[in-house]
């Protein structure tokens, strides 16, 4: 049976992702150091808790950044959720300027609050528009209707430079990238583990990809 690892940055709740994977009858494990060889896993999830800098510092300190790169180069499936999604990019401007994993070219910016009308964090259910009907997008959104709603909670958003890697967009004051799927790298700003049945379906799709992967 295929195994999925969830990286624990050492703070916040990663139990939700683990619970969702267990609910879907997957062998899922939480790892917090590189001694658990991530190449032994078939799927890898970067969950979405905490702030950018402590998370990327943790990945550096533990040698996860290089390990993740090797893992991805092997063609294995990676899914970054919320902060985990933002970590995939080159640079984030959350509390300063920080280097990310650079797996997806682009940067992470803050929502600009013009008045108290736009309440930040962007918190709650918002509908997404699926774009780029390519193979990667279709596998991510298999059995998901267009304009379906997912649960978001974030104050920063990612801007991928290569639009062809974007698989969905969402609107909150501005239009932003709500997910990417490019080859074996998936990322979503929304939380599939908190988005009810539709979110579980995306995780099922990820598990399917993990299972058909070599």
């Amino acid at each position: 049976m295929k195994k999925i690892a969830i990286i624990d940055y050492g703070f916040g709740n990663i139990k939700s992702v683990l619970n969702a994977l267990h609910y879907l009858n997957v062998q899922a494990f939480v790892i917090n150091n590189c001694t658990s060889e991530i190449l032994n896993f078939d799927g890898l999830i970067l969950p979405g808790v905490g702030a950018f800098k402590p998370a990327i510092d943790f990945l550096h300190d533990q040698g996860f950044d290089k390990a993740i790169l090797d893992y991805v180069n092997c063609g294995k499936m990676l899914y970054g959720i919320c902060l985990g999604f933002q970590l995939l990019f080159d640079i984030s401007y959350e509390n300063g300027k920080h280097q990310g994993l650079g797996l997806i070219h682009g940067e992470v910016r803050q929502f600009i609050q013009k008045d108290n009308f736009l309440k930040v964090p962007h918190m709650g259910w918002n509908n997404i528009s699926i774009i780029n009907q390519n193979l990667y997008t279709r596998s991510m959104f298999n059995n998901i209707l267009n304009e379906e709603s997912f649960y978001f909670v974030h104050s920063y958003y990612a801007v991928p430079y290569n639009v062809s890697q974007v698989s969905s967009v969402c609107t909150f004051g501005i239009q932003f990238c709500s997910s990417i799927s490019y080859k074996n790298i998936w990322g979503s700003q929304f939380h599939p583990e908190k988005s009810g049945e539709k979110g579980l379906q995306i995780l099922r799709n990820f598990i399917d990809e993990v299972n058909i992967n070599k």
């Binding site: 703070f11 916040g12 709740n13 139990k15 939700s16 619970n19 969702a20 267990h22 609910y23 808790v49 905490g50 702030a51 609050q113 108290n116 309440k119 930040v120 964090p121 962007h122 918190m123 709650g124 259910w125 918002n126 509908n127 709603s149 649960y151 978001f152 909670v153 974030h154 104050s155 609107t171 909150f172 583990e193 908190k194 988005s195 009810g196 049945e197 979110g199 579980l200």
Partner: protein, 251 residues
């Protein structure tokens, strides 16, 4: 568009829902996990557990309840009631809750908000404000279920908790709570206009039109307890009504 959230609230004591409902779909009307699953299936956008117990033992029961609920319910879960320390917050989050609601403890030691916000992220820190009208456009913050007047102005308190790092405010009108005669629209409007974070409106809802007024006053979400509890309204009815009135909701 970002949906206006409909959030059912369950009062919990000793691991059971207070005044268990009798939804025909449920085997056990007092089982919070079953009810949470049921509400989730009916389209609830989030679930709130309000722990109204006092003893330490019962509090541990609530923690194991959160553990079990998070294994079966895949929408956001907020837990509040009697949260006093950073350790309480950590225990609740580690058990699988997504947000923690802090009330009295925030008033008596406001630095718990900034501490918790820095430690766990502002998105999981909800500050509950119980406000009572004391004059024209003036509300005070009350604690201990509305019994203690802190003398603190609700508007400046809302601004302060926002500064301290709250991610959301759960705003309850003590005057309207339980009356079913509608929200304190002025209160919602004035607080919502004063701060940049979402406001969850609570207290006073009795019929569908009231939800429209809460939305128009600037609320991002509504918290509903007894109306759902006693089946006076269903989540579907509320959402269908809001949708009919061009308010974005997740159906």
């Amino acid at each position: 568009m970002l949906g206006f959230r409909v959030i059912p609230c369950l009062d919990i004591t000793n691991g059971r829902v207070v005044k268990g409902t009798n939804f025909i779909e449920l085997k056990d009307a007092g089982n919070p996990i079953e009810i949470a699953q049921y509400y989730s299936k009916c389209g609830a956008d989030e679930i709130v557990f309000l722990d109204i117990t006092a003893t330490f033992e019962e509090r541990n029961t609530t923690i194991s309840l959160i553990n079990m609920t998070s294994e079966k319910v895949f929408i956001p879960l907020t837990v509040g009631g009697g949260v006093k320390t950073i350790m309480d917050i950590r225990n609740i989050l580690n058990a699988g809750a997504d947000k923690v609601s802090i009330n009295s403890a925030a008033v008596y030691s406001p630095n718990i908000i900034s501490k918790a916000s820095n430690m766990f992220g502002k998105q999981c820190i909800v500050v509950a404000i119980d406000a009572k009208n004391i004059g024209k456009n003036k509300w005070n913050v009350f604690t201990h279920g509305g019994r203690v007047n802190t003398g603190i102005d609700a508007i400046s308190w809302a601004k302060q908790v926002t500064e301290l790092g709250a991610g959301e405010i759960l705003l309850t009108s003590m005057d309207k709570d339980g009356t079913k005669c509608g929200y304190d629209v002025d209160l919602i409007k004035i607080i919502s206009n004063s701060i940049s974070i979402p406001v969850i409106a609570s207290g006073g809802a009795g019929k569908l039109e009231h939800f429209l007024s809460a939305y128009n006053a600037g609320a991002s979400a509504i918290l509903i307890a007894s109306l759902f509890h006693y089946k006076e309204l269903t989540i579907k009815q509320v959402k269908a009504y809001l949708k009919c009135n061009n308010i974005p909701v997740r159906l």
